[in-house]
Amino acid sequence: MAFAAADGPLDAQVSAALREFCAQQYEASAACKYGIDAAEFAAMLAEVAGQSNHTGAANDLRAFLASLHLEELVLARACMKGSESAWERFLLGYRSTLYESAYKIAGAETAARELADSLYAELYGVDAKGQERPSKLRYYQGRGSLQGWLRTVLAQEYINRYRGTRRETSLDEALDAGRQFEAGEAQVNVADPRADEAATAELAALEPEGRFLLAAYYLDRRTLAEIAKLMGVHESTISRKLERVTAALRKRIRKRMMRSGMSPRQADEAMQDVDVRDLRVNVKETLRQETPEGAFYKEKDECG
């Protein structure tokens, strides 16, 4: 078995675990059906494990490898290699998903088809000008299902395209279309900096899930149903969690403000909504809402 693709030399136990896993799973993964031999298969797994930093301990590696969508990973790599039977399988099993997902994401048929066609070309290893380039399937590592990965990549592409299109829209056209620009979140400068410090400190101490829920619900204005679907729980669970997190956070912030010398009344006032007349809005910062270009391209480079 070859492990040349791994980032560094593997520990003997880890190598043995990888070898054992490859021996067990090579047949079941259908790699041979697509012309991937045992050495390539092992190198592929070593590469995936190395990129995911799961080469530290044998047990860790075993658990990681067992969690991979092995058959789909093999299929993706076989498609990258140009295996016709792999592409047939991909067309049969995933092309419809690709277009259905694109339609759900883009909403309009033309945009959806354009989005899906574009990604399909990238998966095939052709750019917009028809020139060959490495297939985008090389980024698929088998951590999630291939269908789910296609949906996520479509979502990324759509967001990037949407941003690009939005930047190209002229102000005159938007005004002609009668569109009104939504005011951004006002940059609030809280009167007492101690309130700000307390909120920042307590928020930083909050568990990741709590912060994610707060950000999704209060900043992104996602519905309870949307968050619940993503988290795989009922929306009433999300509602209860949000109530609990918000209430606990308010209490802790209030306590911290009082510890920093604020009176109970000052703390209570600071926890109230700020009067709009007290806002000091930084117009420049408020208008700067665009995400830096290529946020996801940067991530792609890291993956590659």
């Binding site: 969508h69 980024y139 990741p208 992104d220 109530e243 600071a270 991530e299």
Partner: protein, 373 residues
Amino acid sequence: MNQKLPESLRSALARQGGGEVHPSPDVLTSFMERTLPRDERDFVTNHLALCPDCREVVFLASSAAEGAAVNEKGSVAAAAGQPPAVLAETPRRRWTFGLSWAVAAVAVLLVAGVLVRQRFGSAELARHPVSSVASNSEQPSVAQLQPAAPETSSAPEALGKTTRATTTPPKTAAPRASAVAVGGAPARQSAENVPSETKKVVAAPTDENAQRPATVEEAAKLAAPVPATHNAFVENQADAMSRLRQGAALAKPMVSLGAVDAARERWRISADGHLEHRVAEDEWARVLANQATTFRAVSVVGSDVWAGGEGGALFRSRDDGLHWRRIPLVTTSGAETGTITSIKFETSQQGTVLTAAGSRWTTSDGGLTWTQR
């Protein structure tokens, strides 16, 4: 959610820094599919709390997945006692959830009826032993109503298009069938694959005289080791009723429930130990046919399908059988080699695997890691 967020907190939330290194689409997908290990999941959750771009991606991808995850297994998962959280997304799910509760209620009523009947019957026997025996001779017992294996002398010819005819004598096949259907599922028959006469017996077991098999062939068909489909729904029923099961008496409600639920069945273990998936009304396709394993148990939760059998072989599909992966049950002392006789997943994450040797393997992360007890 009526609470408002103080502006100081809202601005602190919006100002959160970090999150520059975005998780790959692969990891985000795994996060959405809830298959990430705990530490990585926390890392991604933390990143999502900080990064509006990635939040937008996951919500968009999650909305695109709507409908894809909904399948007919939802009803099975609901009946298996999964939290309603994952099931209450669509009217169809709500409908199947309600139906499953109705089925459970019917089961409870039937069990209660049988118990009352037994209690009443035993009291009558104590008071009038002779008349009770005479009554029994006139009216066949519940056990008699069942297509009892020992009465048969041959095996069925064909249970379905792809099901092999078995030549196993019923006396040896019957225990095998019960072993496959751990949890008392032997009476659970796939109504689509049994002769129409059998369907009548299954659907209305109380109408015993009209449904008794008239010929030896019919009896053989009825008594054959009809592959018992085995899933979490069945197991939960079986667990609930195992305390009450006495002899063949409770086979009666189980048969009825099996018939009610048979319309939803899509997975089964054939009599000769093959895993099969229903592809059409009366057509079953063999799955994992290239495996030498003799399968003994299958469990379905949502689109997750688990199958296990001899030699400690455990397979999992996350996409309703489209793709399979063998899951090793390994500890530092070695790999599991015993025959897997039961797979029970209460949710997509929490499951238990039992082997014939008495080993008990549990997972709480969807099969990523296993603990042997």
